[in-house]
């Protein structure tokens, strides 16, 4: 029995192989992607900005290949980046009105690394305003629509990035993940979303939402492509103080290694009645497959995870309030006109240009950080965060991986959006790896109508995680 939908699209790994064998060239790939963008983007709203020099970059890449000076396996492959990643002399809006004319003079580390490898940045993908949201609906570039069913949501905040892969507009996407922003859209759009360990990929040049929770992630069509893309963007960066100096493993070498004998932990807290029948079906079938492939299953308890969601939102909102206080119109953001009455003008500007979700989160962040409430909420949540990290890491000492569902619900309808609290509950399973900085990957199981699974690994063990995920992807 096989769940996996037959491959309708070419993956980044296959494209790389075909470029190497000279079956295709970069111009062909870029033109195909551009054709899809011009055809579908009007409806799907996946891209917010396109790179002007994309064709000349493709010509240069082909020239390099013909002269046998290829820079890397991803040389000449069209890749999109989220609109929160800064690129030199082009707009980076974070889907916010306050940054609609924001153009900076430097490149983020990821963009530099991609350019160094010869990858072609095709454009910037649509997202929620400042990555705050769960459906790619709050941005200024319009509501993202799922290409599998346009009435359904793509998830968020990297909805445009995941949907661009599904609709063949690019072969790889770079997104950011604060509480599940790469993994949730990947599940909803039938792609693979990988969030590596905190510090594995540099965050330099990424507009900050919550600095201690922000991760850079990759979205591709399969696990092999994720491994290829991760290989070239991870590594130490002296300009990011949270970047890790650990050596980057070779993720591609042992990706097909046998995984029989591996122990997998399933948290019993996530198998409760709150999980819908679809989710229960997914987990039951998964357990059946794992057992039949000599993979041991251990039921474990993560007692403190019930506090994970409030802890995540308290830390995220408090940090967002601090990070977004710079958008006042003096250095960043739309410029203020009346200098005499600066405070009133500044408040007016922020009131007009920031979206309602962002304003709400900033105000809650202010409330949580006031001297009366900071001990009750912020400091308390930092302590619980530490306990959650310890709890998860101690469980990972006895098992190799943890497996949970990615989302407790199926993609909801774009026209009947749930209230904000229900949207927050969507992150139920994804916030634990974000709080503890652990690597996790989201795989899709098509037969179960977009209910995906999430595999969580040990810190800096992306190689093991990708190997296991690759085998699971083949099995299902």
């Amino acid at each position: 029995m096989s769940f996996m939908k037959k491959k309708q699209y070419i993956s980044l790994y296959e494209a790389s192989k075909n470029l190497k064998n000279k079956k295709w060239n970069s111009q062909f790939l870029v033109k195909k992607c551009l054709k899809n963008i011009f055809k579908k983007n009007f409806l799907l709203k996946n891209f917010s900005l396109l790179n002007k020099s994309v064709l000349s970059d493709a010509i240069n890449s082909d020239r390099r290949r013909s002269m046998k000076r290829c820079l890397s396996p991803i040389d000449g492959i069209p890749i999109s980046i989220k609109d929160i990643i800064i690129t030199k002399n082009s707009k980076t809006t974070a889907s916010s009105n306050i940054l609609r004319n924001n153009s900076l003079t430097y490149n983020s580390t990821i963009v530099n690394k991609l350019k160094k490898c010869g990858a072609i940045i095709i454009g910037k993908t649509n997202m929620d305003e400042f990555a705050m949201g769960g459906g790619s609906t709050t941005g200024i570039w319009g509501v993202c629509k799922n290409s599998n069913n346009i009435t359904k949501t793509t998830g968020g905040s990297s909805g445009g990035a995941a949907n661009a892969i599904t609709s063949n507009m690019c072969l790889g996407s770079i997104g950011t993940d604060t509480g599940g922003s790469v993994r949730l859209p990947s599940t909803f759009c039938n792609t693979v979303g990988l969030k590596p360990t905190y510090g594995r990929i540099s965050r330099f040049g990424i507009i900050a939402f919550a600095s201690s929770l922000d991760h850079v992630g990759v979205i591709t069509k399969d696990v092999l492509s994720s491994a290829v893309l991760l290989q070239y963007i991870s590594g130490y960066d002296s300009r990011d103080m949270t970047s890790s100096a650990r050596k980057v493993d070779n993720y591609i070498v042992d990706i097909n290694k046998n995984v029989s004998g591996t122990t997998v932990g399933i948290p019993i807290e996530y198998l409760d009645s709150a999980m819908n029948t679809n989710g229960q079906k997914t987990i039951t079938t998964l357990i059946y497959f794992l057992k039949h492939n000599n993979i041991r299953i251990k039921y474990i308890s993560l007692k403190k995870t019930e506090y994970a969601l409030p802890v995540y939102y308290i830390i995220a909102m408090a940090e967002a309030m601090s990070n977004l206080s710079r958008y006042t119109g003096s250095l960043y953001g739309e410029k203020t006109i009346n200098i005499k009455n600066n405070i009133n003008n500044l408040s007016f500007l922020r009131g007009v240009y920031l979206g309602s979700e962002v304003k709400k989160r900033i105000m809650i962040g202010s409330y949580l950080l006031t001297s009366e409430h900071s001990h009750q909420y912020y400091y308390h949540s930092q302590k619980i965060r530490y306990k959650i990290c310890q709890d998860v890491k101690s469980r990972l000492a006895s098992v190799d991986f943890l497996i949970t569902l990615t989302s407790p619900i199926l993609p909801y309808n774009n026209f009947s959006q749930p209230n904000s609290l229900d949207l927050y509950l969507m992150d139920l399973y994804t916030v634990v790896p974000s709080l503890s900085g652990l690597p996790s990957i989201s795989l899709n199981i098509n037969n179960q109508k977009h209910s995906g699974i999430q595999i969580i690994g040990r810190p800096f063990c992306e190689k093991m995680l990708l190997n296991f995920a690759n085998i699971i992807e083949k099995l299902l």
Partner: protein
């Protein structure tokens, strides 16, 4: 708990955000709902927290020892004093 418009206006001032009357009323309802949800933390038993202080200091010490260019692991007494002199960032 803040439930009055007056408190929300205070928060608007703190956040440097100007809101219309209509927006204030809308946000007031959502605020109470979200802050109620976040108050779930109050049920967490704080007594277990006392244990966490020691590992944090211990970890900080080992991190300094591992990554600092100054090799202070040779003299244990000296190294403990040095812990607070080396800037950790």
């Amino acid at each position: 708990m803040f439930s009055t418009i007056k408190n929300i206006i205070k928060l608007c001032f703190l956040s440097r955000i100007c809101l219309s009357n209509k927006q204030l009323c809308k946000i007031k309802i959502k605020f109470n709902m979200i802050v109620n949800f976040l108050s779930k933390l109050a049920t967490f038993d704080e007594s277990v927290m006392l244990l966490t202080i020691i590992p944090i200091v211990k970890n900080a010490y080992f991190r300094c020892d591992k990554y600092s260019s100054v090799p202070f692991s040779t003299n244990k007494k000296k190294s403990k004093n040095n812990l607070f002199k080396i800037p950790i960032f």
